[in-house]
Amino acid sequence: MFYRESGQFKKTYAADMAVFPILQDRIGIAIILFVAAVIIPLFGSTFFISSVMIPFLVFSLAAMGLNIVTGYTGLISLGTGAFMGVGAFACYKLTTIFPNVNIIIWILASGFFSAAIGALFGLPSLRIKGFYLAVATLAAQFFLEWCFVRIPWLYNYSASGAIQVPQRTLFDLPITGANATPVTRYLVLLGIVVFLTWIASNILHGRIGRTFMAVRDMDIAAELMGIRLLPAKLMAFALSSFYCGVAGAVMMFLWYGGGEAADAFNIRQSFNILFMVIIGGLGSLIGCYFGAALLSAVPLILKFGFPAMGIAIGSQTAEHINHLFVGSLIIFFLIVEPHGLARLWQIMKQKLRTWPFPY
């Protein structure tokens, strides 16, 4: 009833081409941003912010990265975890070599290292597609994972092989390291994620995004329209890896606060993010958030929700139920709605537009 576009006439092409052409959508986004930036930091508990919101935002960013290459360009990548790792290590090395440069700059810059590696491993994509490409990116995953463990230079020769996140400040406020409060880390992360989402939306709504989708939908036709496939695919890989790299850097620096990178960026992480993208919706930015929310919330609900309701459930059992749940969810979505939660969201919006009439 309130979600109507009647009476909203677009008088310019710019208004028609806006990302949110409908007023209600713009209001909705403003409310979400307000809640995320003001309400949650003010009223959210430490637990909620550090264990729910921060993982959710990190995974959203990583899912966005994977969605650019898999959802928009149609190239399956199983190297997401490794590309995230590249970002984390790049950020770690950069900030230990140049400690005086602001950490936020290094977090964003680490994406470029990841982008370069991603483009390198994207090279086979010109010749191979589908499963074979997935296997090629799997090689990237295993090779890079090996590097993370076997090249001590990457973790500054620490005995445990773990990254120790140093304290870095912004305007004398610690934003990484042990002294950073969850709220500051959350706000920094939110800023990065919102900024990068905006950039991604700009890219994907413009010429480059159309190029990606053309390559995905019909590569022969795209080629004959003058799109060169190799640059387009490499660009998709680079862009995707950039996002994954930044996600990996913020994961290490703003969420984990250090740890064994080889564990955090292993093949299971790659699959986890792939599932988020599939469940959220291939080729949809909002789907990344849906998928990340669902898959990062489910383990938490199982782990903390049931005990809170008085149902005793062991952490082992919770883990197993989690696996069962995610597995069945994926099968469910592949059968019922291959376009994921994002499509359900669209259908719901369509229904809302016409409610209370059926059409």
Binding site: T12, Y13, A14, M17, I199, S201, N202, I203, H205, G206, R207, I208, R210, T211, M213, A214, R216, D217, M218, I220, A221, A222, E223, L224, M225, G226, I227, R228, G283
Partner: protein, 264 residues
């Protein structure tokens, strides 16, 4: 884009000389020569498997012939590259619709403008300023094509959901968005009913009239071919058996034999 010299109407736009194309032992095209003049509708006809589509693929660089030369706009080459062909103004549609199914009609046609869009990656990041101005400018052009093809009502519909006839029309629009000098149409009327065929004929003739596009056309509907085209080339088993005006071709005994069979 570097300025291209204008080719006068009636002068040779594309010249195919002694082109042969083999796939292993299969001879798809053998020693075929013909030319396409600026501003004409040139039909390529022949029975199934005659090598018509292969010929189009050779022209826009998707297949590379083993022998022969192609002269386009005065530049001779033994093979084209698809993106070079596209940037020099050769556009095409496909026999079995090859649209970008997940994208809207508008986006599909906008893809046709890709080569004309020059603004750098940097501006694309922000979708403001020059990038947005460029986007709007091309949107205007695309809207003209949408107007021209009478597909306003499906502007924002994903093309995968459209009926076949409209998909073909969108595909023509996507090719037109490239502002082609030479438009290759591969069976634009296949599988259409009479009304849709008539519409399509009208669009093809209007395209020629309004945009001055040269058209190479593959079609099986002889009525359409004879009405639309200025000159016809006939292929059979990869060999050229006739070339001339529709009337000449119609009277050619070899062509009649190819289509109707010979009594032995």
């Amino acid at each position: 884009m570097k300025p291209q010299q204008q080719i006068e109407t009636g002068a040779t736009l594309l010249n195919v000389e002694n082109v042969s194309l083999r796939f292993g032992g299969v001879k798809a095209i053998t020693d075929v020569s013909f030319d396409i003049r600026k501003g004409e509708v040139r039909a390529i006809i022949g029975p199934n498997g005659a090598g018509k589509t292969s010929m189009l693929n050779v022209i826009n660089g998707f297949y590379h012939p083993q022998d022969g030369r192609i002269t386009y706009r005065g530049a001779t080459r033994s093979k084209m590259r698809p993106h070079v062909a596209a940037s020099q103004g050769i556009a095409r549609t496909f026999q079995n619709v090859a649209l970008f199914k997940g994208m809207t009609t508008l986006d599909n046609i906008m893809v046709g403008r890709t080569l004309k869009m020059r603004k750098s990656f940097f501006w694309q990041l922000f979708r403001h300023g020059p990038a947005m101005a460029e986007e709007i400018e091309h949107r205007k052009f695309v809207e003209e094509i949408i107007d021209f093809l009478e597909i306003e009502h499906i502007r924002k519909v994903p093309v995968g959901k459209l009926p076949y006839g409209l998909q073909k029309r969108v595909e023509l629009g996507r090719a037109l968005a490239m502002e082609p000098e030479l438009l290759l149409l591969d069976e634009p009327m296949a599988g259409m009913n009479l009304e849709e065929k008539e519409d399509m004929c009208r669009f093809i003739l209007d395209t020629k009239e309004q945009y001055g596009t040269t058209i190479a056309l593959i079609e099986h509907d002889m009525g359409v071919v004879m009405d639309l085209s200025d000159r016809v080339v006939v292929l059979e088993y990869g060999i050229k058996i006739a070339d001339g005006t529709p009337d000449e071709v119609k009277a050619n005994q070899k062509v009649i034999d190819a289509y109707l069979g010979v009594a032995h």
